[in-house]
Symmetry: C2
Subunit: 333 residues, 2 copies
DNA sequence: TTGTAAGCGTTATCAT
DNA sequence: ATGATAACGCTTACAA
């Protein structure tokens, strides 16, 4: 209540209930070795004093933070939010707290280090393994390169991209272009590899990818290169939906019809993908499940329940709408 | 490294550097009262041993967690993610950690309680004040009812809704309907009040709101009532964009033209709002800034830097696109 | 400039 | 069934 009232500790509760702090602790831990009458007395004292245990003291004594860390590169778009939601939900079920750090911010090195001092383990998304592995903490990698010695949770990129590319071929399209930077993230590289593999299957040679970051403004720029005739293609396989959507919008504003003049497909199945016309053909990932699994594995790791490092690859699903050239199904939003 | 190696503590570092733990602590705190040579020796030891301080021990000694809590009702849609991003970014700048709990999950009472044991203060979104105020922790409320005794950060709802409604009147529209549940959240109620106020200004009487939660499926249902002739209106003022978008899509699928047959406006300015045709007229909130300010205020509260509780109301901005009946500007995506 | 030692608020091991 | 008391790993006077 008052700004500077000294915090109520376990000692105050013990005094108030006329027991020792050991007994208070027992009651709070739910130990059965306490007489019902004293238990009630303690509980009453807790309530009357508004006692809130010190998590720090607890963690120190227990040598466990009961908290899992999650490091994300950013929080733009629905992808990261979904992942986080899955992570926190599973963590809560396991009664673990969640600490978040967004690594994009300037001093993230610091932030991650200080995170490591307050959690039992950390799930990383989009960071290189080395910097992380020696942190002396339990670690799981999300959407990262498979390494036999660390836990990795990822989704099927290669195969999905291959299917998607093949689908475009089936539409009779031949001059495909991959838009996105395979060097930027491991999952993008895998998508590009699937794109290349689909070409190989047909005895075709994939062209060089159009390097572009995943921002809407970058998509606009790519679109303008196409409008200017600087880039030629009859289908665009984009690294994610934001890119695809931005390109599509800019193209159509210039009178270039999708999918008639050019087909466009994306990746992620964001909300907008099913609201635009034509609907965006894309690939859906089980993002929530990835987050949940990351929390789950991390928990096992810190609990010592996990035998060895595991690699999990969750399945993806191609979502066909109109932007690839298929007839639009009117069932969507 | 090895699964059960005892954690490296400050004692190990002290031994290794042949100093006392006090000196190690001083070096780590950046105290200037340490000879450069010993400082180096300590730093070397830290590196060689991969020493990671125990946040728990630190917090216990310092009586500070250096961590801020954030309680969100859910994480769907861009609103919460943006808010969180703002919160974590500002917190990181202030060198505070961030713990997140999503209150929607079953046992959130528990989760919030245990959160309170590990943070210095908590920012709540969409929870009733009473349950929160007695937590003996510092608290700020986001998008909540203004109360003189607690910090509240919110955005301008009443005025924005009034402007938006008036804009619809200016289009010659008269039979407006508010879609959303004013009882569900404080900010929705304020929007509805603005809607009503705009009617009063014109000597009109607002009709009863169409109660609907903020899900796409609910929007679809509302649209179907309009299609069936069960609901009559020439303009819909929706509680948020998801609702507006879902309604608009369902309406147009049934051949009802927006904005010709009926105008639709939303709230939030989500990404999809600028990608659909017609573009959705809506209201933009400085969500990131709200999150940042919440972190900021919370920090001042726990640092004792804050004098009194403050109420902040951040300005909103009406974003005109095509769905209200205005000519579409082609500049958007 | 450095060391000694007293907390910080719990949990858990002994006794009783 | 309960109470002393020793950790837990730091920070921070106070001494030297």
């Amino acid at each position: 209540m008052s700004p500077e009232s000294p915090a109520v500790t376990i000692y105050a509760v013990a005094d108030h209930a006329r027991v020792s702090i050991a007994t208070v602790s027992r009651v709070l831990q739910g130990s059965t070795l306490v007489a019902e009458s004293t238990r009630q007395r303690v509980l009453d004292a807790v309530r009357e004093l508004d006692y809130l245990p010190s998590g720090a003291a607890r963690s120190l004594a227990e040598r466990r933070h009961h908290t899992l860390g999650l490091v994300l590169p950013e929080l733009g778009g629905p992808y990261y939010a979904e992942l986080l939601a899955g992570f926190e939900t599973r963590a809560a079920e396991l009664r673990q707290g969640v600490m978040l750090v967004i690594a994009g911010n300037e001093d993230h090195g610091d932030a991650v280090h200080s995170l490591a001092t307050r959690v039992d383990g950390i799930a990383f998304l989009g960071t290189d393994v080395e910097r992380v592995t020696r942190s002396a903490k339990k670690v799981v990698l999300i959407a990262g390169d498979a390494r036999p010695d660390v836990d990795v949770i990822s989704t099927e990129n290669h195969h999905g991209a291959q299917l998607l590319t093949e689908h475009l071929f089936a539409h009779g399209l031949r001059r495909l272009l991959f838009v996105g930077d395979p060097g930027a993230a491991h999952d993008v590289r895998e998508r590009h590899e699937g794109f290349v593999a689909a070409h190989l299957d047909r005895g075709l040679q994939a062209r060089e990818p159009v390097l572009a970051p995943f921002r809407e403004s970058d998509g606009r720029r790519v679109a303008e290169r196409i409008i200017d005739g600087d880039l030629e293609a009859d289908a665009l396989v984009c690294g994610n939906d934001e890119l695809a959507l931005a390109i599509m919008a800019r193209l159509m504003r210039a009178g270039i019809e999708v999918p008639v003049d050019i087909a466009v497909v994306g990746w992620d199945d964001v909300m907008t993908a099913r609201y635009v016309r034509p609907g965006l053909t894309t690939v859906r990932q089980p993002v929530r499940a990835v987050g949940a699994l990351a929390a789950e594995r991390l928990f096992h790791l810190v609990s010592g329940t996990a035998k060895d490092a595991e690699q999990h690859v969750l399945p993806t699903e191609v979502v066909i709408r109109g932007s690839c050239g298929c007839p639009e199904l009117a069932t969507d939003p």
